[in-house]
């Protein structure tokens, strides 16, 4: 079991309103042995999963069919679940409170997202 993926068996929430992008993320996460929660396309679905599911990390698209994902980010932070935005917006276009949040820029390459999510989670030191 050495050389295990840092995302192995981690429960990762994916909130992304574009089907093809969501599927690409899902595929990349599965390839890294993660357990994908979602993907879901709406704020409402995202909030529901963020509140009810055991989670290790999350990837959040900022613009969900015109709605903003900030509320999901706040719920996750309240639960100490680390998250990253996956968005086409630059930092300056985000509200001040989220400008220093981790961001993966669209268009993205799968391995960069995987690395970014890995970096969110502190190494629990597998004994």
């Amino acid at each position: 079991m050495n050389r295990q993926s840092p995302l192995a068996d981690k429960r990762i929430l994916v909130v992304e309103d574009e089907y093809f992008i969501a599927r690409d993320l899902e595929r990349a996460l599965r390839a890294a042995d993660a357990i994908v929660i979602g993907p879901v396309a709406t704020l409402e679905q995202g909030l529901s999963l963020a509140e009810t599911q055991p989670l290790d990390a999350a990837v959040l698209d900022v613009n969900l069919a015109g709605e903003r994902a900030f509320e999901i980010a706040d719920r996750l932070s309240a639960r100490d679940v680390p998250w990253t935005f996956l968005t086409g917006y630059d930092e300056w276009a985000l509200p001040a409170a989220y400008r220093s949040a981790p961001i993966v820029a669209k268009p993205f390459q799968a391995d960069r997202v995987i690395r970014a999510i890995g970096a969110l989670m502190p190494d629990k030191g597998c004994a």
Binding site: E18, G88, A93, K106, P107, F108
Partner: protein, 531 residues
């Protein structure tokens, strides 16, 4: 009264041995009157008439005038003609009836000698005086004359002259007139400065109250000492309410700390500038203002007060914010669509096949996305007409609307993201029909219809039906496992919340796409996205 004392304090010590002197109570009263009236007169002419009246009263002259040398020194203009003078002229010439002061006199004749020789002059026999030039038309006959020069900084710049004493002028009258002269100069110059200052103040006030900025003055710690009418009109706060720190009431609560800090830093350094919101008194709405203040310094360079303006930048700021939003949205859209294109490319390649077929598929999908993008960005609303979307797709592959092709439905304006996915689905169906279905076989028919069904509340559904008939039964078409199938069966439900049905029946494809729509999407192709 201090002027009087400083002017005459010296002279009262030197009492002339003969004739009336400055100790004469009547003369002092006259001087006093001139200096007092100077404050009240509204024009130089009015002041001049008053001075002449005092001089006539004290000397017993019948009329008088008060004139000033022009800057060029060669001509004399009238400052005033006494009331008695006007009365004596009255009726002889209509010009005098209008009391127009005669100007531009040559400096010559008897009166000219007062200026040219720079001394007072008594002429009791003017008819035989060597310098006599006669009197102007309408002038009453001149029997005798007393002229006195008026000096400023030791130079004669003006004169006044008295005429027609009942018995002729003596040294007594000359002494009185000479005593009056400094007071007349003093009164004239003071009035002149006052009029100039008043005009300058009026100009300044007109400027301050005419500019579109809110203007105010403040002491060093932000205590306001004056506000312009524009401030009162904008904020609805009265002058009294605004003074001191009262102006803070018009500042947005969130900006008050910044405004206070602004003044804390207003120590010895230069100009101040900040942006903040001020409450519009009538509407209660806050507007953004840019406030600047410049220190007013005394002769030692110390700041005496601050002179400030607040400029309305609300519209500018809103435009700037809107521009930032537009740029952000544009970035979002461009990067999102690139991500989608990338994903579609990957899938198209993964589905396999000969390279030129893969290229055709990808090109077709890219063209479909591009068409929708072009239409969506052509209208201000960013919306796309459903019928045009379908027609463009079919015309793009050369299909002709005839008895084998029917396209029919009400006007529907789709949001850009919906149009993008739906357009791609229509593209996949069209490509399939062209390759295997109704658009390939001569007996095939294609009917594309749509309708809007109300569901609950303000919601409604758009139901698009793609119905092929007359296609010979054939084995499983590739679309069944491909990109198009995934798009219709999974992507549309995922991204648009649609319900879809895709059947490969004998006779052709039947596809029904039902997607939720805001009720105002129907019949509103030009709806604005704002508001």
């Amino acid at each position: 009264m201090t002027d009087l004392a400083s002017l005459y304090g010296q002279k009262t010590l030197t009492v002339p041995s003969t004739g009336p002197g400055p100790h004469d109570a009547h003369v002092l009263a006259g001087i006093n009157r001139i200096l007092q009236e100077a404050l009240r007169a509204s024009t130089e002419e009015e002041l001049g008439r008053l001075c002449l009246e005092v001089a006539e009263d004290l000397t017993g002259a019948a009329f008088s005038f008060f004139g000033e040398r022009r800057e060029s020194h060669d001509r004399l203009d009238h400052i005033a003609i006494s009331e008695r003078g006007w009365a004596a002229y009255h009726g002889s010439d209509p010009v005098f009836a209008q009391r127009q002061l005669p100007n531009g006199f040559n400096i010559h004749g008897i009166f000219g000698q007062v200026i040219l020789q720079d001394r007072s002059l008594i002429v009791n026999d003017p008819a035989n005086h060597p310098n006599r030039v006669g009197t102007p038309k309408g002038h009453p006959p001149l029997h005798n004359f007393l002229g006195v020069p008026l000096r400023r900084d030791g130079e004669t710049f003006a004169m006044f002259a008295l005429g027609n004493h009942p018995t002729g002028f003596t040294e007594r009258e000359r002494a009185i007139a000479e005593e009056l002269a400094p007071a007349i100069v003093q009164a004239l110059l003071r009035k002149r400065a006052e009029v100039a200052s008043r005009a300058s103040q009026r100009r300044l006030l007109t400027l301050i109250e005419g500019i579109p900025q809110l203007v105010w003055t403040a002491t060093r710690n932000g205590q306001w000492t004056w506000v312009s009418p524009q401030w009162v009109a904008m904020t609805g706060l009265s002058v009294e309410e605004s003074l001191g720190h009262g102006w803070l009431a018009a500042v947005h609560p969130d900006d008050r700390d910044a405004a206070r800090r602004y003044w804390e830093g207003a120590g010895e350094h230069g100009d101040l500038a900040m942006e903040g919101r001020l409450r519009h008194g009538q509407t209660g709405r806050y507007r953004w203002f840019k406030t600047r203040a410049t220190p007013v310094r005394d002769d030692h360079g110390r700041i005496v007060e601050w002179f400030g303006t607040s400029t309305d930048i609300d519209t500018l700021r809103r435009l700037r914010e809107r521009q930032e939003t537009l740029v952000a949205e544009l970035q979002h859209r461009v990067r999102n669509i690139l991500t989608i294109v990338r994903s579609i490319f990957t899938r198209t390649v993964e589905n396999g096949g000969p390279i030129d077929e893969i290229a055709d598929h990808f090109r077709g999908r890219l063209d479909s996305l591009a068409r929708t993008q072009v239409v969506a960005t052509q209208t201000r609303s960013g919306r796309v007409d459903l019928e045009n979307l379908i027609r463009d797709e079919l015309l793009g592959v050369g299909a002709i609307e005839d008895d084998r092709l029917l396209i029919e439905g009400p006007d529907v304006a789709l949001p850009a993201d919906t149009a993008e996915s739906l357009g791609l689905a229509i593209h996949e169906l069209t490509t399939n029909a062209l390759k295997y279905g109704a658009l390939r076989h001569s007996g095939g028919r294609l009917t594309i219809t749509w309708q809007i069904e109300p569901t609950s509340n303000s919601e409604c559904e758009l139901i698009v039906k793609w119905d092929e008939t007359g296609v010979p039964a054939m084995p499983v078409p590739p679309v069944r496992q491909g990109f198009g199938t995934e798009l219709i069966r999974e992507a549309l439900p995922y991204g648009l919340g649609a319900r879809t049905r895709l059947d490969f029946r004998g006779g052709g494809v039947l596809c029904v796409i039902t997607l939720p729509l805001m009720s105002d999407d129907a019949d509103a192709p030009n709806r604005s996205t704002e508001g």
